[in-house]
Symmetry: C2
Subunit: 297 residues, 2 copies
Amino acid sequence: MTKLEIRNIQRKYSGIDVLKNISCTLEEGHIYGLLGRNGVGKSTLLNIINNRVLPNKGEVKLDGEVIFEKDDLLAELFLINDTLLFNNSDHLKVNKYFKLAKSFYPDFDEALCDHLVEVFELDVKQRIDKLSTGYRSILNVILGLCVPAKFIFFDEPTLGLDANHRELFYKELLDNFSKKTRTFVISTHLIEEVSHMIDTVLILNEGVISVNETAETILEKSWALTGAIRDIQEISKGLSIVGREAIGNQQTIYVYGNVGDIPPSIQVKSVDLQKIFIELTSMKERDWREIKQSIKV
Amino acid sequence: MTKLEIRNIQRKYSGIDVLKNISCTLEEGHIYGLLGRNGVGKSTLLNIINNRVLPNKGEVKLDGEVIFEKDDLLAELFLINDTLLFNNSDHLKVNKYFKLAKSFYPDFDEALCDHLVEVFELDVKQRIDKLSTGYRSILNVILGLCVPAKFIFFDEPTLGLDANHRELFYKELLDNFSKKTRTFVISTHLIEEVSHMIDTVLILNEGVISVNETAETILEKSWALTGAIRDIQEISKGLSIVGREAIGNQQTIYVYGNVGDIPPSIQVKSVDLQKIFIELTSMKERDWREIKQSIKV
């Protein structure tokens, strides 16, 4: 089974440590969600993994081999973001662009490309620089689904896509995933919409991967406790609280980890992924360190 | 009360009528939602209203005066999209960019700008071309909220914004709206998130404004009818059906308009705005004409 190892990546911008120390292993046959607040460096990390930006330290290995500037290994990785695959191809027509992709990737899935062009109603005779924001995203996601790489990285694939087109993309991605053994890494802010697709969650927070867990485990560890403010305060001690909400004299705390024995005056509920992701991606590093120490994530 | 009239706008691209005949009136003190599928021409329309793209026909009037190339009238309109306010300002630092805005708009709201920079945690010493996609959107929405124009148009303001920042933007926009008499027009694909803010809905579909209604009226006209497929088929005739869903032998039809007498075997529910917007923005023009004839929208 092919493995992509990201080891001790560090990257500074203007003297600031954007990525402090990033390590994780991506395995074949998974759909990863790369989540995090604006500006935490998700795009930088994806660019580094795909050899488009150099790290200050660290390396990326495919099955044990460092991929840096090795074209045969890099061909197994493909990053979809808002830049085009080839420089200065903005003036090209869409069909010409797909032909060019095919010439670089002989195993480019033409049948799938034709299908996607049809279902998304993409005008292949249009020039790329005349496409709307949404249709430019569509061009990019089609490319991502048709390229024969093993690891496909989508950086905000649904920018500007309407609700129907977003649904269609998720459906086609899952369909593709069920037919070919490959790995998708999706970085997005529409967490609710992808939460049913991703099996493993990577949360990037303050320069490190703060969470690397299956979605299932995260769900099992996440609880919402609701009760009178005084009652909640009494049981709060020792809990790993990742978020709070108050309405009137009622309070809800979101807990990540063990909740222990809870008195009957407190209502205990499980939390949906979207909600817990929002809480987890918003935490400060200091709070995280404390929580990790207490629950040993 | 200031009024912006959009009259008979037509615009072709590559020989295709993108905008066939667009007329509507925007009044002061409202929040409009401009909705529609990818590629229907929402951005083109906003560019035309703001004098950045010329229409093939039609005109835009502010309180009866044609705004075309009249700087004093155009100063009352402001369009926020993914292009910057000034050409070649990509290399500027954020604080320099805001200064430039202030020099063009002496009434630029500096206090609000400082507040927004703080709550969004925007690094004002950063160069604009070094900002992430999300922070570039943040730069733009800050500008949109601080500029003293009467009509502010946001074209996909939340592109790349994380969930917390989107919430913050909606909150600040409503806060701003409650303090100053102005008009916001928001074009977005995150319909669910804005549905509680917009009071009037403009749906652009196949080159025309197919719906121009208050959100309240749309809610009053929208129904979901669920029942056995056979029962639903029996009552379908004469109804203005904008969408359908089937699970097993049960079917739900979404109706826009009068439902008349419904037998007790059919469950009648109201529909939330997000759902009905998705159905309304997806309709083909032909179906729309039929529906409009039957219910006289």
